[in-house]
């Protein structure tokens, strides 16, 4: 791991290390500043958010702003909707990706590489390209303005298939053949033998999918057509927009943003190893 940086570790003046440390600190502060400021502002009183020059650290931290958010949007309902959307979508993506990834990694069948390329190509398609007909299609099957309308079109995606194929290809064929000898069905082999040996990749995909669909905005906004009962938290947040003018409501807006940010950020803090490993794995392999 350290070999490639040997050139940098020749005897150097300590000024170089100080420079390096300063650069790293500056980058870290610049990167962390907006979120730190968001949390700090959510704890300020309205008087403090209006002060010029600004108060950086609230003198008497208060949760008053969070209470006000609860008065404008239905926080519990929105968070629950987000949880339902992200959890069911993630579960669907895991199952469909593992099945398809297994087929592409371990079976040979006519048209395999053509079908794989076709599916992978959709990974590079910006969602706006399909938005207009998809909106009409989902409406005509009676799923608009509902959670199902948000979830169903997203139950499979190319990234998941790609990631699963990359990792399942590394599972030894002998392991699978031995299970076949014992008469295990292919689905049983996939979920009992293959899945445990690619567990870190599955964890990574689960986290990616959960965070992506927790944060997703364009499709839910389009399909829900103003049905506020089904709003996930990120859509409910736009209701705070009318409070966005004027510094007096900065705390309110920042408290709302903090609520939406916390679940994905907490997941990330505990499980970041899987995120990073799978990004590295998906670019290097294959």
């Amino acid at each position: 791991m350290s070999a490639p940086t040997r050139s940098l570790t020749r005897k150097r003046p300590s000024g170089r290390k100080a420079l390096l440390a300063t650069a790293m600190l500056l980058v870290a502060v610049a990167s962390a500043f907006p979120l730190a400021w968001m949390v700090l502002s959510s704890l300020k009183t309205p008087a403090e958010t209006m002060q010029v020059p600004p108060v950086w650290i609230p003198h008497t931290p208060t949760l008053e702003a969070y209470g006000k958010v609860a008065g404008v949007i239905n926080v519990g309902r929105s968070m629950w909707n987000s949880l339902v959307i992200a959890t069911i979508t993630t579960a669907g993506i895991l199952v469909t990706s593992m099945m398809a990834g297994y087929a592409f990694a371990k079976y040979s069948f006519p048209g395999r590489s053509l079908l794989f390329s076709l599916l992978i190509a959709t990974m590079f398609l910006p969602p706006i390209v399909t938005l207009i007909p998809l909106y009409r299609m989902v409406g005509s099957i009676g799923l608009s303005a509902s959670l199902a309308g948000i979830i169903v079109p997203n139950l499979a995606n190319a990234f998941g298939i790609f990631l699963m194929r990359q990792f399942i290809a590394g599972v030894p064929d002998e392991l699978i053949d031995a299970a076949r000898m014992d008469g295990a069905s292919e689905l049983l082999i996939l979920f009992k033998i293959v899945a445990p040996s690619v567990a870190p990749a599955i964890a990574a995909l689960a986290l990616f999918a959960f965070v992506y669909h927790w944060n997703s905005y364009l499709w839910p906004l389009t399909v829900l057509q103003g049905n506020a009962d089904a709003y996930p938290i990120v859509i409910s947040l736009s209701r705070l927009l009318s409070y966005n003018r004027g510094a007096v409501n900065t705390g309110l807006v920042m408290a709302g943003a903090t609520l939406a940010v916390l679940p994905p950020l907490i997941l990330f803090v505990f499980l970041q190893r899987f995120f990073v490993d799978s990004i590295v794995g998906s670019t290097i392999k294959g």
Binding site: M1, P4, T5, R6, S7, L8, T9, R12, K17, L20, M24, V27, A28, S31, A32, P34, L35, W37, S41, T49, V52, P53, P54, T96, M99, A100, Y102, L115, L119, T122, F124, P126, I128, V129, L131, I132, P133, Y135, R136, M137, S140, V152, N154, A156, N215, Y217, L218, N244, A247, V253, A257, A260, V261, P264, L265, L267, Q272, V276, V280, T283
Partner: protein, 296 residues
């Protein structure tokens, strides 16, 4: 045995292929078909009537429809180019900062950088709209400390689009830093040792070893950064609504406004097709450029 596997392959592939076929490939084909039709998004597909290249003529015409589309196309191009030009070099510099082993703290820096990628864009937009606030916003306050006068940020047509680029770079750069680190770990250490023996200094090693061997990674990063950049929506929908005076009207926002809100499905689809074609041309050009470099 082989025949049995073929049946299993069918079962394993059916859910994913059906879902992606119905909800991605079919709507993509419908977008292409609708781009040649006069069709209101409020009506069934069967109500569409063929108009040939009419929609394409209209979105490039000197009328207000054409002007708005061309502005959106130009804004998206500027936004995408600026994002890529800022994100790629920063990702390499930050990647080197994380990857170096001279002083500790690389992994912590990676965590901080990557954490912003987890933040929903809607929250990024809300937070930055407050950071950019002209009077009491912290950015102008900090600039004031450095003796620089207050900037208009999102409220001026000259700086609004660039301000949105900045918040995009802030959110995304950590992801691309991780990609750059993945590329750096692939470079054999022996190359640096040999170069050191030959008396190459750090700058020369970066120029002749690190950069050339990162080219594949940077190509991949550029493609992803472009695809991500054309999807910018939340800051525009939430904060600027395409303004001031159209300066932040980008394609994803504009296509949704035309195709969904105004229900002009044919026109919106023609715009979406132009976006798709632009992306294909752009990505193909990148690959052609990289391959020519490879064969040099």
């Amino acid at each position: 045995m082989a025949k049995a596997f073929r049946a299993s392959a069918g079962i394993m592939l059916a859910p994913a292929v059906t879902l992606i076929g119905v909800f991605v490939l079919l709507p993509m084909l419908l977008t292409v078909w609708l781009s040649f039709q006069d069709w209101s998004t409020q009506t069934p597909f069967s109500d569409a009537s063929f108009v040939g290249l009419g929609n394409f003529h209209e979105i490039f015409s000197p009328t207000s429809v054409g002007r708005d589309f061309k502005t959106a196309l130009l804004n998206t191009t500027i936004y995408t180019a600026l994002s890529v030009v800022l994100i790629l070099p920063l990702s390499v510099v930050f990647g080197l900062l994380v990857y170096q082993r001279e002083i500790a703290g690389g992994t912590a820096l990676r965590t901080v950088l990557f954490s912003t990628y987890m933040v929903p864009m809607i929250a990024v937009a809300l937070v930055w709209s407050k950071l950019y606030s002209p009077s009491e916003g912290p950015l102008n306050q900090l600039l004031g400390l450095a003796g620089i006068g207050p900037q208009p940020w999102l409220s001026s047509p000259r700086s609004a689009l660039v301000s949105i680029v900045f918040l995009n770079v802030w959110q995304q750069v950590g992801y691309f830093t991780v990609l750059a680190i993945a590329g750096l770990t692939q470079i054999p250490g022996s190359l640096y040792e040999a170069a050191t023996l030959d008396g190459a200094n750090g700058r020369e090693q970066f120029r002749f070893i690190t950069l050339p061997l990162l080219r594949r990674t940077l190509l991949f990063s550029a493609v992803i950064a472009i695809i991500n950049a054309v999807q910018v929506f939340e800051p525009v929908a939430l904060i600027t609504q395409g303004g001031p005076v159209g300066s932040t009207n980008v394609l994803t926002y504009h296509i949704r406004r035309v195709g969904i809100e105004r229900a002009q499905g044919g026109l919106g689809s023609a715009m979406a097709v132009m976006l798709m074609l632009s992306l294909i041309v752009c990505v193909s050009a990148l690959f052609a450029f990289a391959n020519r470099k490879d064969s040099e």
